[in-house]
């Protein structure tokens, strides 16, 4: 039993028109990055809002925030992907649905929206935990100083909370990159899908997957390094020295 290794395969022409197999993988990497970054922007913006309203004293806001998090956290990402891709266009008015389905790169837009909302729930959970980990005296101090609720958040709670949630947000950012692979099920040819197509055309399965794995690991390293750097830049001197992250379930 012998597997025929052929590491030169990456420099051979691939039949998909991208050039060499290496170009195929790099094109996939491009889609992975585009999807992950766009989804991350949505997730950060929405996640901040939802996380904040879950800590406000306003009851209905908290309930909306909780519902948001529970819905997106308790349905598998793949099922959410199918719902955005197959179900939502059918439930919209016919003309909008047809427009959506005929949109060029509809898989990409769907993946971005789906992944963005899915991740927003996880970001919201981290932001909420970050705000709640602050001493409650800080909020009271803000109110005592005559700040309004939005001002208390803007000037007192969020600046500290955001620094606290930086390490967990690093792993959420990694998760967005990894989770973008699920979009191959709706036809987005991102990195994993291009490794798969390289395997199908060239039969060099282990070379293709090794290359993809190494690229993901490199991305991981870059993200972790980058976020460390950002954390150091933003650190408040004398505070929050190397906070030990609590173990958490998740990917």
């Amino acid at each position: 039993m012998k597997y025929n290794w052929n590491w030169g395969i990456f420099w051979q022409l691939s039949p998909d028109g991208h050039g060499t197999y290496l170009d195929t993988l790099l094109a996939g990497l491009g889609w992975t990055l585009a999807t992950a970054l766009a989804a991350w922007l949505i997730a950060l913006a929405l996640g901040m809002v939802v996380g904040v309203i879950r800590t406000t004293p306003v009851n209905w806001m908290r309930r909306v925030g909780d519902a948001w998090v529970e819905v997106f956290r308790n349905v598998p990402l793949l099922v959410q992907m199918f719902i955005w891709f197959f179900v939502v266009p059918e439930l919209l008015p016919a003309s909008v649905g047809v427009w959506l389905k005929q949109l060029p790169r509809s898989a990409f837009y769907t993946a971005v929206v789906c992944l963005g909302l899915y991740t927003s729930a996880r970001v919201a959970e981290q932001v909420r935990a970050g705000i709640q980990s602050l001493a409650s005296g800080q909020r009271m101090a803000g109110v005592a100083l005559g700040l309004t609720l939005p001002q208390t958040y803007r000037y007192i709670l969020l600046p500290m909370a955001i620094r606290i949630v930086m390490p967990p947000l690093t792993s959420e950012f990694m998760n967005v990159i990894k989770n973008s692979a699920v979009a191959l099920t709706i036809g987005l040819v991102e990195l994993t899908a291009s490794a798969r197509s390289m395997q199908e055309f060239s039969f060099q399965v282990f070379e293709a997957f090794t290359a993809a794995t190494l690229i993901y690991m490199a991305l991981n390293l870059i993200v972790v390094r980058g976020m460390r750097w950002l954390e150091r830049r933003l650190a408040v001197p004398g505070l929050l020295g190397a906070a030990q992250a609590m173990p958490q379930a998740g990917h």
């Binding site: 199918f82 719902i83 191959l184 994993t192």
Partner: protein, 231 residues
């Protein structure tokens, strides 16, 4: 707006969905959890070992698994398991491996990396002095771990382990990419056969939500019960 949908398709196919699909999903979840926790605990012990080689190997394994998407890991093992099997059995060609075995190996190996990090934190939460106390009493490494450290580590980590298992339960839906008939796979087959994508996928989402939400509420209750107020 909701006219033209045939919600009866769910009633007609529910027995198939649950008997074929959900049974597969739950079996896979349960076995992968058991295997993942055992293997993950061993990995955690390796990571905390004083032998550099052991901790290095375990650390590398966990880091590779944690930086690779589950979909890619599923593909990896789908192609790798027949080769490993063939090599273990000394066969001349890669052996045939059933879809279930392939999926089970994948999830056990993948989730072990995540369970490992949880168990590592659990073990580290036990004061080191207990290890020394065990040695001082004449217990061996395995006795000290098995009788003193691990039982406490497990107890402290039960809520996180269970939460990870809920995530595992949702993740098993990804076996769709190797065309296995789990709960989602079964629903997807019917959806495509009958052209009832809207009904089936919404139903699947509701079922997953109900189970996951129910379980995570239970975990939260449990957590409130066993949390020690402060150290």
């Amino acid at each position: 707006m909701l006219t033209g949908f045939d919600w009866d398709v769910i009633r007609r196919t529910a027995p198939y969905l649950f008997r074929e699909g959900m049974t597969f999903t739950l079996t896979l979840t349960a076995l992968a959890m058991a295997g993942g926790i055992v293997f993950g605990t061993l990995l955690a012990m390796m990571r905390l070992a004083s032998y550099r080689v052991l901790s290095g190997v375990a650390g590398a394994y966990v880091n590779v698994m944690r930086s690779t998407p589950l979909v890619l890991v599923i593909f990896w093992f789908y192609f790798l398991v027949p080769w490993i099997g063939g090599w273990l059995l000394g066969a001349s060609r890669p052996i045939q491996v059933g879809a279930f075995v392939s999926a089970l190996v994948t999830f056990m190996m993948f989730e072990a990396a995540y369970y490992c990090e949880i168990m590592r934190a659990g073990i580290q939460s036990i004061p080191r002095g207990q290890m020394w106390a065990g040695y001082a009493l004449g217990l061996s490494y395995w006795q000290t771990m098995g009788r003193i450290v691990l039982p406490q580590a497990f107890r402290n980590m039960i809520p996180v382990l269970l939460t990870q298992t809920i995530i595992l339960f949702q993740d098993t839906s990804l076996v769709y990419v190797i065309s296995i008939t789990d709960f989602l796979g079964a629903a997807s087959k019917i959806a495509q056969r009958d052209g009832r994508l809207v009904e089936m996928y919404l139903f699947v989402a509701v079922v997953y939500f109900t189970i996951s939400f129910g379980l995570s509420s239970l975990v939260k209750r449990l957590q409130a019960q066993i949390t020690v107020p402060s150290r």
